[in-house]
């Protein structure tokens, strides 16, 4: 017998089995055959330790298979922690839509997204929306997009304006809140309100990411009890200094990585790698 993996799950097969024989047993009709990252013929003989991927075109992996595939991409233990998480994203514009996509790909269990806005053409320079989504509420368009990445991710889409009166209800059950608004006064309102209701839940906020100033000035810092701030802290969006995909994307991915680090009990504001975690 030999030990291989099929779609990232361990599998024992008779020594000398061909790709086609495994395919017929596990996923009959699969047209795409990949061995160790390279396209393969059905006549190819497998050896101990090979990694076989079988794909039937048009088929979505079931929840368990998708889970195995995602687990395989992360350090052991990371995925188990991440998939239990529930993350709130306030605003799904330039920051929020990119954070949502990154967290969906990372394998979080649940997202609660809230925004009153509709998809407009000017959004396309930096936000994760597409031409065929113009006019749709952003939260519904984003929910559709996220379903195309991971249909087992649970998304609660709230098409409304967040106010001090509804923040606690909308985000009451999440573990971490991402502040992804556009206006400075709205950012302050949201952070103050959430921190007042839930002083022990982390907030990952964004401030200062306009234009094409150096990437290296975007940082993640800890501010006070449970607030983390991603951005350069000063480059305000203004006429002549617009919001652009690269720099907004850097800030958004600082936020997504901060969420991931918090889920793994690591300090988002640390500067140096702490060493390999053993789990």
């Amino acid at each position: 017998m030999m030990k291989i993996t099929v779609n990232e799950r361990n599998y024992e097969a008779a020594a000398g089995s061909t790709v086609g024989s495994i395919r017929d047993r596990i996923k009959p009709g699969a047209e795409v055959l990949v061995v160790n990252g390279f396209p393969a013929d059905e006549d190819q003989t497998l050896v101990d330790g090979d990694h076989l991927v079988l794909i039937r075109r048009g088929e979505t992996p079931d929840a368990e298979e998708l889970d195995s595939l995602l687990t395989a991409r992360h350090t052991p233990g990371v995925h188990a922690r991440v998939k239990r998480s529930s993350i709130g994203i306030a605003g799904v514009g330039g920051l929020g839509s990119s954070v949502a996509v990154a967290l969906a790909r990372t394998g979080v269990g649940r997202l609660v997204i809230a925004d009153f806005d509709l998809v407009e053409p000017t959004n396309l320079n930096r936000q994760q929306y597409y031409l065929d989504q113009l006019g749709l509420p952003k939260v519904y368009a984003l929910r559709d997009t996220l379903a195309r990445i991971n249909p087992h991710l649970h998304v609660t889409a709230c098409h409304l304006r967040l106010t001090p009166g509804n923040v606690a209800e909308i985000f009451g059950a999440i573990d971490i809140l991402v502040e992804a608004f556009d206006r400075a006064d709205q950012k302050a309102m949201l952070v103050e309100t959430f921190a007042t209701y839930f002083p022990d839940k982390p907030i990952v906020a964004g401030s200062g990411m306009a234009g094409h100033a150096p990437s290296n000035s975007i940082r993640t810092s800890r501010r006070g009890r449970n607030i983390f701030l991603c951005g350069d802290g000063c480059t305000e969006a203004a006429p002549g200094i617009g919001l652009m995909a690269p720099r907004v994307g850097i800030a958004a991915h600082h936020q997504a990585n901060a969420v991931l680090r918090l889920l793994l009990d690591e300090d988002p504001a640390a500067n140096f790698h702490e060493g390999i975690d053993t789990l």
Binding site: G91, G93, G94, L95, G96, A180, F181, D182, R183, A184, D185, K187, A188, V191, E192, A195, T196, P199, A205, G206, S207, G208, M209, A210, R223, G224, R225, I227, L229, G233, C234, T235, E236, A237, A238, L243, V248, A251
Partner: protein, 66 residues
């Protein structure tokens, strides 16, 4: 009297409120979140919350764009 603002020792007048301090630092009260000794001070209290010597304040200032 001396208070700590964002890790920096800052001199402010003896009866300063949070609002006075924001004016002194030229910060717009609509664009900040204030923590005093690790507790949030809501903006409706800025004008009445009196600071005490040695208070440790975190004033998070937000700019627009996101």
């Amino acid at each position: 009297m001396k208070v700590i603002v964002n890790g920096v020792a800052t001199i402010t007048s003896a009866n300063s409120t949070v609002q006075d301090l924001l004016l002194q630092l030229r910060l717009d009260s609509q664009q900040v979140v204030v923590e005093r000794n690790r507790d949030i001070i809501p903006r409706q209290d800025f004008a009445v919350a009196r600071l005490a010597s040695g208070d440790v304040l975190e004033i998070v200032h937000f700019v627009g764009g996101g």
